[in-house]
Symmetry: C2
Subunit: 305 residues, 2 copies
Protein backbone atom coordinates (compact mmCIF):
# COMPACT_ATOMS: atom_id res chain seq x y z
CA UNK A 1 0.00 0.00 0.00
CA UNK A 2 1.17 3.55 -0.64
CA UNK A 3 1.81 6.03 2.14
CA UNK A 4 -1.69 7.46 1.51
CA UNK A 5 -3.33 4.12 2.42
CA UNK A 6 -4.35 3.74 -1.21
CA UNK A 7 -2.86 0.99 -3.36
CA UNK A 8 0.05 2.01 -5.60
CA UNK A 9 -1.08 1.81 -9.21
CA UNK A 10 0.72 1.42 -12.53
CA UNK A 11 -0.98 2.13 -15.86
CA UNK A 12 0.69 0.57 -18.87
CA UNK A 13 -0.46 2.11 -22.16
CA UNK A 14 -1.18 5.86 -22.11
CA UNK A 15 -3.32 6.13 -25.27
CA UNK A 16 -6.62 7.99 -25.12
CA UNK A 17 -8.20 5.35 -22.87
CA UNK A 18 -5.20 4.64 -20.62
CA UNK A 19 -4.35 8.33 -20.22
CA UNK A 20 -7.93 9.11 -19.16
CA UNK A 21 -7.90 6.27 -16.64
CA UNK A 22 -4.46 7.22 -15.26
CA UNK A 23 -5.51 10.87 -14.85
CA UNK A 24 -8.80 9.82 -13.18
CA UNK A 25 -6.74 7.82 -10.66
CA UNK A 26 -4.43 10.80 -9.99
CA UNK A 27 -7.50 13.00 -9.43
CA UNK A 28 -8.75 10.54 -6.79
CA UNK A 29 -5.46 10.74 -4.91
CA UNK A 30 -3.74 7.56 -6.07
CA UNK A 31 -0.01 7.55 -6.74
CA UNK A 32 0.24 6.39 -10.35
CA UNK A 33 3.25 5.33 -12.40
CA UNK A 34 2.65 5.37 -16.16
CA UNK A 35 4.45 3.90 -19.12
CA UNK A 36 4.03 4.13 -22.90
CA UNK A 37 6.31 3.52 -25.89
CA UNK A 38 5.37 6.99 -27.17
CA UNK A 39 7.60 9.70 -25.55
CA UNK A 40 4.89 12.37 -26.11
CA UNK A 41 2.41 10.34 -24.04
CA UNK A 42 4.99 9.92 -21.26
CA UNK A 43 5.69 13.67 -21.25
CA UNK A 44 1.96 14.49 -21.14
CA UNK A 45 1.45 12.17 -18.18
CA UNK A 46 4.43 13.67 -16.29
CA UNK A 47 2.93 17.13 -16.88
CA UNK A 48 -0.39 15.85 -15.44
CA UNK A 49 1.45 14.96 -12.23
CA UNK A 50 2.11 11.26 -12.80
CA UNK A 51 5.32 9.33 -12.28
CA UNK A 52 6.77 8.06 -15.53
CA UNK A 53 8.82 4.94 -16.20
CA UNK A 54 10.80 3.96 -19.30
CA UNK A 55 9.75 0.32 -19.17
CA UNK A 56 6.63 -1.60 -18.21
CA UNK A 57 8.53 -3.42 -15.45
CA UNK A 58 9.76 -0.07 -14.15
CA UNK A 59 6.20 1.25 -13.91
CA UNK A 60 4.99 -2.00 -12.34
CA UNK A 61 7.81 -2.13 -9.79
CA UNK A 62 6.22 -2.65 -6.38
CA UNK A 63 2.75 -1.74 -7.68
CA UNK A 64 -0.27 -3.18 -5.87
CA UNK A 65 -2.37 -2.83 -9.03
CA UNK A 66 -1.12 -2.89 -12.64
CA UNK A 67 -3.74 -1.77 -15.16
CA UNK A 68 -2.93 -2.80 -18.72
CA UNK A 69 -4.60 -0.60 -21.37
CA UNK A 70 -2.61 -1.74 -24.39
CA UNK A 71 -4.14 -2.36 -27.84
CA UNK A 72 -4.63 -6.11 -28.02
CA UNK A 73 -3.95 -9.58 -26.66
CA UNK A 74 -0.47 -9.81 -28.20
CA UNK A 75 0.70 -6.61 -26.48
CA UNK A 76 -0.83 -7.77 -23.18
CA UNK A 77 0.90 -11.13 -23.46
CA UNK A 78 4.19 -9.37 -24.20
CA UNK A 79 3.99 -7.57 -20.82
CA UNK A 80 3.68 -10.88 -19.02
CA UNK A 81 6.64 -12.66 -20.62
CA UNK A 82 9.87 -13.09 -18.71
CA UNK A 83 11.66 -10.41 -20.72
CA UNK A 84 9.11 -7.69 -19.93
CA UNK A 85 9.01 -8.97 -16.38
CA UNK A 86 5.85 -7.22 -15.20
CA UNK A 87 4.62 -10.15 -13.10
CA UNK A 88 7.79 -10.41 -11.04
CA UNK A 89 8.05 -6.62 -10.69
CA UNK A 90 4.59 -6.29 -9.10
CA UNK A 91 4.03 -6.44 -5.33
CA UNK A 92 3.58 -9.98 -4.03
CA UNK A 93 -0.18 -10.73 -3.98
CA UNK A 94 -0.77 -7.76 -6.36
CA UNK A 95 -3.44 -7.48 -9.06
CA UNK A 96 -3.09 -7.35 -12.83
CA UNK A 97 -6.13 -5.72 -14.53
CA UNK A 98 -6.37 -6.45 -18.26
CA UNK A 99 -8.50 -3.97 -20.29
CA UNK A 100 -7.65 -4.87 -23.91
CA UNK A 101 -10.42 -6.50 -25.97
CA UNK A 102 -9.43 -10.11 -26.64
CA UNK A 103 -10.54 -13.69 -27.23
CA UNK A 104 -11.78 -15.11 -23.88
CA UNK A 105 -9.55 -18.17 -24.38
CA UNK A 106 -6.48 -15.92 -24.40
CA UNK A 107 -7.72 -14.06 -21.31
CA UNK A 108 -7.92 -17.41 -19.50
CA UNK A 109 -4.34 -18.27 -20.56
CA UNK A 110 -3.02 -14.90 -19.38
CA UNK A 111 -4.82 -15.29 -16.06
CA UNK A 112 -3.16 -18.69 -15.58
CA UNK A 113 0.27 -17.13 -16.17
CA UNK A 114 -0.34 -14.29 -13.72
CA UNK A 115 -1.74 -16.62 -11.05
CA UNK A 116 1.17 -19.05 -11.51
CA UNK A 117 3.36 -16.05 -10.64
CA UNK A 118 1.53 -15.59 -7.34
CA UNK A 119 -0.53 -12.55 -8.40
CA UNK A 120 -4.25 -11.98 -9.12
CA UNK A 121 -5.87 -11.30 -12.50
CA UNK A 122 -9.03 -9.35 -13.35
CA UNK A 123 -10.46 -9.75 -16.86
CA UNK A 124 -11.79 -6.21 -17.30
CA UNK A 125 -12.50 -4.96 -20.83
CA UNK A 126 -13.78 -1.39 -20.94
CA UNK A 127 -16.37 0.50 -22.97
CA UNK A 128 -17.30 4.15 -23.30
CA UNK A 129 -14.68 5.98 -25.38
CA UNK A 130 -12.04 8.62 -24.67
CA UNK A 131 -14.38 11.28 -23.25
CA UNK A 132 -15.81 9.00 -20.59
CA UNK A 133 -12.33 7.61 -19.84
CA UNK A 134 -11.17 11.18 -19.06
CA UNK A 135 -14.21 11.69 -16.83
CA UNK A 136 -13.63 8.48 -14.86
CA UNK A 137 -16.99 7.27 -16.18
CA UNK A 138 -16.19 4.11 -18.15
CA UNK A 139 -18.21 0.89 -18.21
CA UNK A 140 -16.19 -2.16 -17.12
CA UNK A 141 -17.22 -5.72 -18.03
CA UNK A 142 -15.32 -7.61 -15.36
CA UNK A 143 -14.81 -11.19 -14.23
CA UNK A 144 -12.39 -12.78 -11.79
CA UNK A 145 -11.98 -14.19 -8.30
CA UNK A 146 -13.42 -12.52 -5.22
CA UNK A 147 -9.85 -11.69 -4.20
CA UNK A 148 -9.22 -9.96 -7.53
CA UNK A 149 -12.45 -7.93 -7.27
CA UNK A 150 -11.68 -6.92 -3.67
CA UNK A 151 -8.25 -5.60 -4.68
CA UNK A 152 -9.63 -3.87 -7.80
CA UNK A 153 -12.51 -2.02 -6.17
CA UNK A 154 -10.87 1.28 -5.17
CA UNK A 155 -9.21 1.70 -8.59
CA UNK A 156 -12.36 0.69 -10.50
CA UNK A 157 -14.35 3.23 -8.48
CA UNK A 158 -11.97 5.92 -9.74
CA UNK A 159 -12.18 5.06 -13.44
CA UNK A 160 -15.70 3.67 -13.96
CA UNK A 161 -19.31 4.82 -13.66
CA UNK A 162 -20.52 1.23 -13.95
CA UNK A 163 -18.77 -2.05 -13.15
CA UNK A 164 -20.55 -5.22 -14.30
CA UNK A 165 -19.54 -8.26 -12.23
CA UNK A 166 -19.89 -11.01 -14.80
CA UNK A 167 -18.44 -14.12 -13.22
CA UNK A 168 -15.69 -15.55 -11.07
CA UNK A 169 -13.26 -16.60 -13.79
CA UNK A 170 -11.18 -14.79 -16.38
CA UNK A 171 -12.70 -14.98 -19.90
CA UNK A 172 -16.28 -14.15 -18.95
CA UNK A 173 -15.75 -10.38 -19.01
CA UNK A 174 -14.03 -10.72 -22.39
CA UNK A 175 -16.88 -12.83 -23.77
CA UNK A 176 -19.44 -10.14 -22.85
CA UNK A 177 -17.22 -7.53 -24.49
CA UNK A 178 -17.09 -9.60 -27.70
CA UNK A 179 -20.92 -9.81 -27.79
CA UNK A 180 -20.96 -6.02 -27.55
CA UNK A 181 -18.32 -5.70 -30.30
CA UNK A 182 -20.30 -8.03 -32.60
CA UNK A 183 -23.32 -5.73 -32.27
CA UNK A 184 -21.37 -2.46 -32.39
CA UNK A 185 -19.41 -3.51 -35.47
CA UNK A 186 -22.50 -4.67 -37.35
CA UNK A 187 -24.46 -1.56 -36.37
CA UNK A 188 -21.81 0.81 -37.80
CA UNK A 189 -21.61 -1.21 -41.01
CA UNK A 190 -25.38 -1.46 -41.52
CA UNK A 191 -25.81 2.23 -40.65
CA UNK A 192 -23.35 2.93 -43.47
CA UNK A 193 -25.21 0.52 -45.77
CA UNK A 194 -28.53 2.24 -45.00
CA UNK A 195 -27.14 5.74 -45.53
CA UNK A 196 -25.71 4.92 -48.97
CA UNK A 197 -28.90 3.00 -49.85
CA UNK A 198 -30.78 6.20 -48.92
CA UNK A 199 -28.43 8.20 -51.15
CA UNK A 200 -29.16 5.79 -54.01
CA UNK A 201 -32.86 6.66 -53.56
CA UNK A 202 -32.14 10.40 -53.75
CA UNK A 203 -32.91 11.08 -50.08
CA UNK A 204 -31.43 13.93 -48.06
CA UNK A 205 -29.01 12.35 -45.56
CA UNK A 206 -29.58 14.90 -42.79
CA UNK A 207 -33.32 14.19 -43.06
CA UNK A 208 -32.60 10.43 -42.96
CA UNK A 209 -30.66 11.03 -39.73
CA UNK A 210 -33.58 12.92 -38.18
CA UNK A 211 -36.18 10.31 -39.19
CA UNK A 212 -34.13 7.26 -38.15
CA UNK A 213 -32.99 8.60 -34.79
CA UNK A 214 -36.72 9.14 -33.99
CA UNK A 215 -37.75 5.67 -35.22
CA UNK A 216 -37.44 1.97 -34.42
CA UNK A 217 -34.48 1.63 -36.83
CA UNK A 218 -32.19 3.56 -34.50
CA UNK A 219 -29.06 2.23 -32.81
CA UNK A 220 -26.49 3.79 -30.48
CA UNK A 221 -23.91 3.52 -33.27
CA UNK A 222 -26.18 4.96 -36.00
CA UNK A 223 -26.78 8.00 -33.82
CA UNK A 224 -23.11 8.34 -32.82
CA UNK A 225 -21.30 7.67 -36.11
CA UNK A 226 -23.53 8.86 -38.97
CA UNK A 227 -22.86 12.58 -38.25
CA UNK A 228 -19.31 11.83 -39.47
CA UNK A 229 -20.71 10.62 -42.81
CA UNK A 230 -23.04 13.63 -43.13
CA UNK A 231 -20.11 15.96 -42.39
CA UNK A 232 -17.79 14.03 -44.74
CA UNK A 233 -15.26 13.94 -41.88
CA UNK A 234 -13.42 10.63 -41.50
CA UNK A 235 -10.70 11.73 -39.06
CA UNK A 236 -10.53 8.83 -36.65
CA UNK A 237 -12.50 8.77 -33.40
CA UNK A 238 -12.09 4.99 -33.58
CA UNK A 239 -10.35 3.36 -36.53
CA UNK A 240 -11.52 0.82 -39.13
CA UNK A 241 -8.70 -1.56 -38.10
CA UNK A 242 -10.14 -1.83 -34.56
CA UNK A 243 -13.17 -3.61 -36.05
CA UNK A 244 -11.03 -5.63 -38.45
CA UNK A 245 -9.45 -6.92 -35.23
CA UNK A 246 -12.60 -7.23 -33.08
CA UNK A 247 -14.92 -8.81 -35.68
CA UNK A 248 -11.95 -11.05 -36.53
CA UNK A 249 -11.95 -12.24 -32.91
CA UNK A 250 -15.74 -12.79 -33.12
CA UNK A 251 -15.15 -14.85 -36.27
CA UNK A 252 -12.42 -16.90 -34.53
CA UNK A 253 -14.74 -17.57 -31.56
CA UNK A 254 -17.68 -18.43 -33.83
CA UNK A 255 -15.59 -20.90 -35.85
CA UNK A 256 -14.22 -22.46 -32.70
CA UNK A 257 -17.73 -22.85 -31.22
CA UNK A 258 -19.26 -24.04 -34.56
CA UNK A 259 -21.69 -21.13 -34.20
CA UNK A 260 -22.57 -19.47 -37.54
CA UNK A 261 -22.61 -15.64 -37.43
CA UNK A 262 -23.37 -14.70 -41.06
CA UNK A 263 -24.27 -11.06 -40.37
CA UNK A 264 -21.10 -10.40 -38.35
CA UNK A 265 -19.14 -12.12 -41.14
CA UNK A 266 -20.70 -9.86 -43.81
CA UNK A 267 -19.81 -6.81 -41.70
CA UNK A 268 -16.24 -8.04 -41.11
CA UNK A 269 -15.69 -8.22 -44.84
CA UNK A 270 -16.87 -4.61 -45.30
CA UNK A 271 -14.25 -3.49 -42.72
CA UNK A 272 -11.66 -5.63 -44.53
CA UNK A 273 -12.60 -3.85 -47.77
CA UNK A 274 -12.22 -0.45 -46.10
CA UNK A 275 -8.81 -1.44 -44.75
CA UNK A 276 -7.80 -2.99 -48.08
CA UNK A 277 -8.76 0.24 -49.85
CA UNK A 278 -6.31 2.12 -47.62
CA UNK A 279 -8.67 3.45 -44.94
CA UNK A 280 -7.56 1.21 -42.03
CA UNK A 281 -6.51 4.15 -39.85
CA UNK A 282 -9.51 6.33 -40.79
CA UNK A 283 -12.72 6.58 -38.78
CA UNK A 284 -14.75 3.37 -38.68
CA UNK A 285 -17.64 5.19 -40.41
CA UNK A 286 -15.41 4.96 -43.52
CA UNK A 287 -17.32 1.75 -44.28
CA UNK A 288 -19.81 4.21 -45.84
CA UNK A 289 -17.13 5.13 -48.40
CA UNK A 290 -16.77 1.47 -49.38
CA UNK A 291 -20.54 1.28 -49.98
CA UNK A 292 -20.43 4.56 -51.94
CA UNK A 293 -17.73 3.08 -54.18
CA UNK A 294 -19.68 -0.17 -54.69
CA UNK A 295 -22.97 1.61 -55.44
CA UNK A 296 -21.43 4.50 -57.40
CA UNK A 297 -22.86 7.10 -55.03
CA UNK A 298 -21.34 10.42 -53.97
CA UNK A 299 -21.32 11.17 -50.25
CA UNK A 300 -20.76 14.55 -48.55
CA UNK A 301 -17.07 15.40 -48.85
CA UNK A 302 -17.05 13.76 -52.27
CA UNK A 303 -14.11 11.38 -51.87
CA UNK A 304 -14.79 7.68 -51.61
CA UNK A 305 -11.23 7.01 -50.40
CA UNK B 1 -67.25 18.01 -45.05
CA UNK B 2 -69.29 16.31 -42.35
CA UNK B 3 -71.95 18.11 -40.37
CA UNK B 4 -69.40 18.72 -37.62
CA UNK B 5 -67.18 20.76 -39.96
CA UNK B 6 -64.62 17.97 -39.86
CA UNK B 7 -63.83 15.95 -42.96
CA UNK B 8 -65.65 12.62 -43.27
CA UNK B 9 -63.08 9.82 -42.94
CA UNK B 10 -63.00 6.18 -44.05
CA UNK B 11 -60.44 3.71 -42.67
CA UNK B 12 -59.91 0.61 -44.79
CA UNK B 13 -58.18 -2.17 -42.91
CA UNK B 14 -59.04 -2.54 -39.21
CA UNK B 15 -56.06 -4.60 -38.05
CA UNK B 16 -54.12 -3.52 -34.95
CA UNK B 17 -52.77 -0.39 -36.69
CA UNK B 18 -55.93 0.60 -38.60
CA UNK B 19 -58.21 -0.02 -35.61
CA UNK B 20 -56.04 2.18 -33.41
CA UNK B 21 -56.05 4.95 -36.00
CA UNK B 22 -59.83 4.70 -36.59
CA UNK B 23 -60.55 4.83 -32.85
CA UNK B 24 -58.17 7.78 -32.41
CA UNK B 25 -60.17 9.62 -35.11
CA UNK B 26 -63.49 8.79 -33.39
CA UNK B 27 -62.05 10.09 -30.12
CA UNK B 28 -61.22 13.40 -31.80
CA UNK B 29 -64.80 13.79 -33.03
CA UNK B 30 -64.48 12.65 -36.63
CA UNK B 31 -67.25 10.60 -38.22
CA UNK B 32 -65.45 7.45 -39.35
CA UNK B 33 -66.64 4.61 -41.61
CA UNK B 34 -64.56 1.46 -41.29
CA UNK B 35 -64.16 -1.67 -43.39
CA UNK B 36 -62.31 -4.96 -42.98
CA UNK B 37 -62.64 -8.43 -44.48
CA UNK B 38 -62.66 -9.85 -40.95
CA UNK B 39 -66.22 -9.76 -39.44
CA UNK B 40 -64.80 -9.69 -35.88
CA UNK B 41 -62.89 -6.47 -36.68
CA UNK B 42 -66.03 -4.90 -38.17
CA UNK B 43 -68.05 -5.84 -35.06
CA UNK B 44 -65.37 -4.44 -32.73
CA UNK B 45 -65.33 -1.15 -34.63
CA UNK B 46 -69.14 -0.87 -34.53
CA UNK B 47 -68.99 -1.44 -30.78
CA UNK B 48 -66.42 1.37 -30.52
CA UNK B 49 -68.95 3.72 -32.12
CA UNK B 50 -67.82 3.64 -35.74
CA UNK B 51 -69.93 3.19 -38.86
CA UNK B 52 -69.23 -0.08 -40.61
CA UNK B 53 -69.41 -0.93 -44.31
CA UNK B 54 -69.33 -4.31 -46.03
CA UNK B 55 -67.10 -3.15 -48.87
CA UNK B 56 -64.23 -0.72 -49.29
CA UNK B 57 -66.26 1.37 -51.75
CA UNK B 58 -69.13 1.47 -49.25
CA UNK B 59 -66.84 2.83 -46.55
CA UNK B 60 -65.25 5.30 -48.97
CA UNK B 61 -68.59 6.53 -50.31
CA UNK B 62 -68.55 10.33 -50.10
CA UNK B 63 -65.51 10.36 -47.80
CA UNK B 64 -63.25 13.41 -47.84
CA UNK B 65 -60.32 11.31 -46.60
CA UNK B 66 -59.78 7.58 -47.17
CA UNK B 67 -56.99 6.12 -45.03
CA UNK B 68 -55.73 2.77 -46.30
CA UNK B 69 -54.08 0.64 -43.61
CA UNK B 70 -53.97 -2.68 -45.46
CA UNK B 71 -51.02 -5.08 -45.36
CA UNK B 72 -49.10 -4.38 -48.55
CA UNK B 73 -48.90 -2.78 -52.00
CA UNK B 74 -51.01 -5.49 -53.68
CA UNK B 75 -53.92 -4.97 -51.29
CA UNK B 76 -53.64 -1.19 -51.69
CA UNK B 77 -53.62 -1.50 -55.48
CA UNK B 78 -56.68 -3.76 -55.28
CA UNK B 79 -58.65 -0.96 -53.56
CA UNK B 80 -57.91 1.38 -56.44
CA UNK B 81 -58.94 -0.89 -59.30
CA UNK B 82 -62.23 -0.36 -61.08
CA UNK B 83 -63.87 -3.36 -59.42
CA UNK B 84 -63.17 -2.17 -55.86
CA UNK B 85 -64.11 1.33 -57.00
CA UNK B 86 -62.70 3.30 -54.06
CA UNK B 87 -61.46 6.22 -56.19
CA UNK B 88 -64.83 6.90 -57.77
CA UNK B 89 -66.66 6.43 -54.47
CA UNK B 90 -64.66 9.16 -52.70
CA UNK B 91 -65.73 12.81 -52.60
CA UNK B 92 -64.55 14.79 -55.61
CA UNK B 93 -61.22 16.45 -54.70
CA UNK B 94 -60.90 14.01 -51.78
CA UNK B 95 -57.66 12.55 -50.36
CA UNK B 96 -56.36 8.97 -50.38
CA UNK B 97 -53.78 8.33 -47.61
CA UNK B 98 -51.71 5.18 -48.15
CA UNK B 99 -50.06 3.74 -45.01
CA UNK B 100 -48.85 0.30 -46.17
CA UNK B 101 -45.07 -0.21 -46.45
CA UNK B 102 -44.22 -0.55 -50.16
CA UNK B 103 -41.67 -0.02 -52.90
CA UNK B 104 -41.54 3.75 -53.68
CA UNK B 105 -41.96 2.98 -57.39
CA UNK B 106 -45.35 1.37 -56.65
CA UNK B 107 -46.36 4.32 -54.46
CA UNK B 108 -45.69 6.63 -57.41
CA UNK B 109 -47.81 4.44 -59.70
CA UNK B 110 -50.72 4.37 -57.23
CA UNK B 111 -50.52 8.16 -56.83
CA UNK B 112 -50.76 8.54 -60.60
CA UNK B 113 -53.92 6.40 -60.65
CA UNK B 114 -55.56 8.34 -57.83
CA UNK B 115 -54.66 11.71 -59.36
CA UNK B 116 -55.91 10.62 -62.79
CA UNK B 117 -59.24 10.00 -61.02
CA UNK B 118 -59.34 13.62 -59.80
CA UNK B 119 -58.36 12.91 -56.19
CA UNK B 120 -55.22 13.61 -54.09
CA UNK B 121 -52.69 11.07 -52.77
CA UNK B 122 -50.52 11.17 -49.66
CA UNK B 123 -47.67 8.63 -49.41
CA UNK B 124 -47.77 8.11 -45.64
CA UNK B 125 -46.16 4.98 -44.20
CA UNK B 126 -46.44 4.73 -40.43
CA UNK B 127 -44.18 3.57 -37.59
CA UNK B 128 -44.71 2.99 -33.90
CA UNK B 129 -46.64 -0.25 -33.34
CA UNK B 130 -50.13 -1.11 -32.09
CA UNK B 131 -49.83 0.59 -28.68
CA UNK B 132 -48.94 3.97 -30.16
CA UNK B 133 -51.58 3.54 -32.89
CA UNK B 134 -54.22 3.17 -30.16
CA UNK B 135 -52.88 6.27 -28.41
CA UNK B 136 -52.98 8.40 -31.58
CA UNK B 137 -49.21 8.73 -31.23
CA UNK B 138 -47.79 7.21 -34.42
CA UNK B 139 -44.87 8.51 -36.47
CA UNK B 140 -45.82 9.26 -40.11
CA UNK B 141 -43.21 9.48 -42.88
CA UNK B 142 -45.17 11.48 -45.43
CA UNK B 143 -44.69 12.95 -48.88
CA UNK B 144 -47.11 14.49 -51.35
CA UNK B 145 -48.39 17.72 -52.80
CA UNK B 146 -49.18 20.81 -50.71
CA UNK B 147 -52.86 20.18 -51.46
CA UNK B 148 -52.63 16.61 -50.16
CA UNK B 149 -50.86 17.74 -46.97
CA UNK B 150 -53.44 20.50 -46.37
CA UNK B 151 -56.30 18.02 -46.64
CA UNK B 152 -54.51 15.43 -44.48
CA UNK B 153 -53.56 17.70 -41.60
CA UNK B 154 -56.63 17.35 -39.29
CA UNK B 155 -56.66 13.56 -39.60
CA UNK B 156 -52.88 13.24 -39.17
CA UNK B 157 -53.10 15.39 -36.03
CA UNK B 158 -55.56 12.84 -34.61
CA UNK B 159 -53.44 9.73 -35.30
CA UNK B 160 -49.81 10.89 -35.06
CA UNK B 161 -47.43 12.35 -32.48
CA UNK B 162 -44.91 13.19 -35.21
CA UNK B 163 -45.43 13.83 -38.93
CA UNK B 164 -42.26 14.05 -41.03
CA UNK B 165 -42.80 16.07 -44.25
CA UNK B 166 -40.35 14.37 -46.56
CA UNK B 167 -41.04 15.79 -50.00
CA UNK B 168 -43.64 16.94 -52.48
CA UNK B 169 -44.06 13.71 -54.44
CA UNK B 170 -45.35 10.22 -53.67
CA UNK B 171 -42.53 7.69 -53.18
CA UNK B 172 -40.31 9.77 -50.93
CA UNK B 173 -42.19 8.85 -47.75
CA UNK B 174 -42.03 5.18 -48.76
CA UNK B 175 -38.29 5.43 -49.46
CA UNK B 176 -37.61 6.77 -45.95
CA UNK B 177 -39.74 3.95 -44.51
CA UNK B 178 -37.70 1.37 -46.43
CA UNK B 179 -34.43 2.80 -45.01
CA UNK B 180 -35.96 2.36 -41.55
CA UNK B 181 -37.06 -1.21 -42.36
CA UNK B 182 -33.57 -2.11 -43.63
CA UNK B 183 -32.12 -1.06 -40.26
CA UNK B 184 -34.94 -2.49 -38.13
CA UNK B 185 -34.83 -5.86 -39.91
CA UNK B 186 -31.05 -6.16 -39.63
CA UNK B 187 -31.05 -5.07 -35.99
CA UNK B 188 -33.53 -7.81 -34.96
CA UNK B 189 -31.55 -10.44 -36.87
CA UNK B 190 -28.16 -9.40 -35.50
CA UNK B 191 -29.61 -9.09 -31.98
CA UNK B 192 -30.68 -12.72 -32.37
CA UNK B 193 -27.26 -13.65 -33.76
CA UNK B 194 -25.54 -11.97 -30.79
CA UNK B 195 -27.80 -13.63 -28.21
CA UNK B 196 -27.19 -17.13 -29.55
CA UNK B 197 -23.47 -16.37 -29.94
CA UNK B 198 -23.56 -15.36 -26.24
CA UNK B 199 -25.32 -18.64 -25.41
CA UNK B 200 -22.58 -20.54 -27.28
CA UNK B 201 -20.07 -18.85 -24.92
CA UNK B 202 -22.03 -19.97 -21.86
CA UNK B 203 -23.20 -16.47 -20.91
CA UNK B 204 -26.38 -15.71 -18.97
CA UNK B 205 -28.81 -14.09 -21.43
CA UNK B 206 -30.49 -11.81 -18.90
CA UNK B 207 -27.05 -10.49 -17.95
CA UNK B 208 -26.24 -10.01 -21.66
CA UNK B 209 -29.41 -7.93 -21.96
CA UNK B 210 -28.41 -5.74 -19.01
CA UNK B 211 -24.85 -5.20 -20.27
CA UNK B 212 -25.78 -4.52 -23.91
CA UNK B 213 -28.66 -2.13 -23.19
CA UNK B 214 -26.15 -0.08 -21.10
CA UNK B 215 -23.46 -0.19 -23.81
CA UNK B 216 -22.61 1.07 -27.29
CA UNK B 217 -23.88 -2.18 -28.85
CA UNK B 218 -27.49 -1.30 -28.08
CA UNK B 219 -30.27 -0.74 -30.62
CA UNK B 220 -33.97 0.11 -30.31
CA UNK B 221 -34.80 -3.37 -31.63
CA UNK B 222 -32.34 -5.22 -29.36
CA UNK B 223 -33.94 -3.54 -26.36
CA UNK B 224 -37.51 -4.12 -27.61
CA UNK B 225 -37.32 -7.69 -28.97
CA UNK B 226 -34.74 -9.61 -26.93
CA UNK B 227 -37.03 -9.87 -23.85
CA UNK B 228 -39.15 -12.21 -26.03
CA UNK B 229 -36.11 -14.50 -26.52
CA UNK B 230 -35.22 -14.41 -22.81
CA UNK B 231 -38.85 -15.28 -21.95
CA UNK B 232 -38.99 -17.97 -24.67
CA UNK B 233 -42.26 -16.34 -25.83
CA UNK B 234 -42.65 -16.13 -29.61
CA UNK B 235 -46.33 -15.15 -29.76
CA UNK B 236 -46.37 -12.52 -32.47
CA UNK B 237 -46.12 -8.80 -31.70
CA UNK B 238 -44.92 -8.45 -35.32
CA UNK B 239 -44.45 -11.52 -37.51
CA UNK B 240 -41.42 -12.98 -39.30
CA UNK B 241 -43.25 -12.71 -42.66
CA UNK B 242 -43.45 -8.89 -42.30
CA UNK B 243 -39.66 -8.77 -42.63
CA UNK B 244 -39.62 -11.42 -45.35
CA UNK B 245 -41.78 -8.87 -47.21
CA UNK B 246 -39.99 -5.66 -46.17
CA UNK B 247 -36.38 -6.85 -46.59
CA UNK B 248 -37.60 -8.35 -49.88
CA UNK B 249 -38.66 -4.86 -50.98
CA UNK B 250 -35.26 -3.50 -49.86
CA UNK B 251 -33.60 -6.22 -51.96
CA UNK B 252 -35.80 -5.32 -54.99
CA UNK B 253 -34.89 -1.64 -54.62
CA UNK B 254 -31.19 -2.40 -54.15
CA UNK B 255 -31.10 -4.60 -57.26
CA UNK B 256 -32.95 -2.00 -59.27
CA UNK B 257 -30.54 0.75 -58.15
CA UNK B 258 -27.43 -1.48 -58.55
CA UNK B 259 -26.71 -0.72 -54.88
CA UNK B 260 -25.21 -3.69 -53.00
CA UNK B 261 -26.69 -4.25 -49.53
CA UNK B 262 -24.89 -7.41 -48.34
CA UNK B 263 -25.84 -7.09 -44.66
CA UNK B 264 -29.55 -6.59 -45.40
CA UNK B 265 -29.33 -9.58 -47.78
CA UNK B 266 -27.79 -11.79 -45.07
CA UNK B 267 -30.59 -10.76 -42.69
CA UNK B 268 -33.30 -11.40 -45.32
CA UNK B 269 -32.08 -14.96 -45.69
CA UNK B 270 -32.32 -15.53 -41.93
CA UNK B 271 -35.99 -14.41 -42.03
CA UNK B 272 -36.52 -16.67 -45.05
CA UNK B 273 -35.07 -19.56 -43.04
CA UNK B 274 -37.40 -18.80 -40.13
CA UNK B 275 -40.38 -18.72 -42.48
CA UNK B 276 -39.21 -21.84 -44.29
CA UNK B 277 -38.91 -23.64 -40.95
CA UNK B 278 -42.59 -22.90 -40.30
CA UNK B 279 -42.31 -19.80 -38.11
CA UNK B 280 -43.61 -17.21 -40.60
CA UNK B 281 -46.48 -16.14 -38.38
CA UNK B 282 -44.48 -16.23 -35.14
CA UNK B 283 -42.80 -13.21 -33.58
CA UNK B 284 -39.93 -11.77 -35.62
CA UNK B 285 -37.55 -12.54 -32.74
CA UNK B 286 -37.96 -16.18 -33.88
CA UNK B 287 -34.83 -15.57 -35.97
CA UNK B 288 -33.08 -16.45 -32.70
CA UNK B 289 -34.55 -19.96 -32.99
CA UNK B 290 -33.01 -20.34 -36.45
CA UNK B 291 -29.59 -19.40 -35.02
CA UNK B 292 -30.12 -21.80 -32.10
CA UNK B 293 -30.81 -24.60 -34.56
CA UNK B 294 -27.75 -23.75 -36.68
CA UNK B 295 -25.43 -23.46 -33.67
CA UNK B 296 -26.96 -26.34 -31.71
CA UNK B 297 -27.81 -24.11 -28.74
CA UNK B 298 -30.78 -24.31 -26.38
CA UNK B 299 -32.65 -21.08 -25.73
CA UNK B 300 -35.14 -20.37 -22.92
CA UNK B 301 -38.37 -22.20 -23.71
CA UNK B 302 -36.30 -25.02 -25.17
CA UNK B 303 -37.97 -25.40 -28.57
CA UNK B 304 -36.09 -24.22 -31.65
CA UNK B 305 -39.28 -24.36 -33.77
Amino acid sequence: MSHQNKPAVAVIGLGSMGMGMACSLLREGFSVAGCDINPAARAAFAKAGGAVADTAAGAASGADIVISVVVNAAQTEQLLTEEAGVIDAMAIDGLFVSCATMDPAIARRLADAVEAGGRHYLDAPISGGAVRAAEGALTVMASGSAAAFARAEPALDAVAAKVFRLGDAAGQGSAFKMVNQLLAGVHIAVASEAMVFAASQGLDLQQVYEVITASAGNSWMFENRMPHVIAGDYSPASAIDIFVKDLGIVDDMARSARMPTPIAAAALHMYLAASGMGMGRDDDSSVARVYATLGNQTLPGGKNR
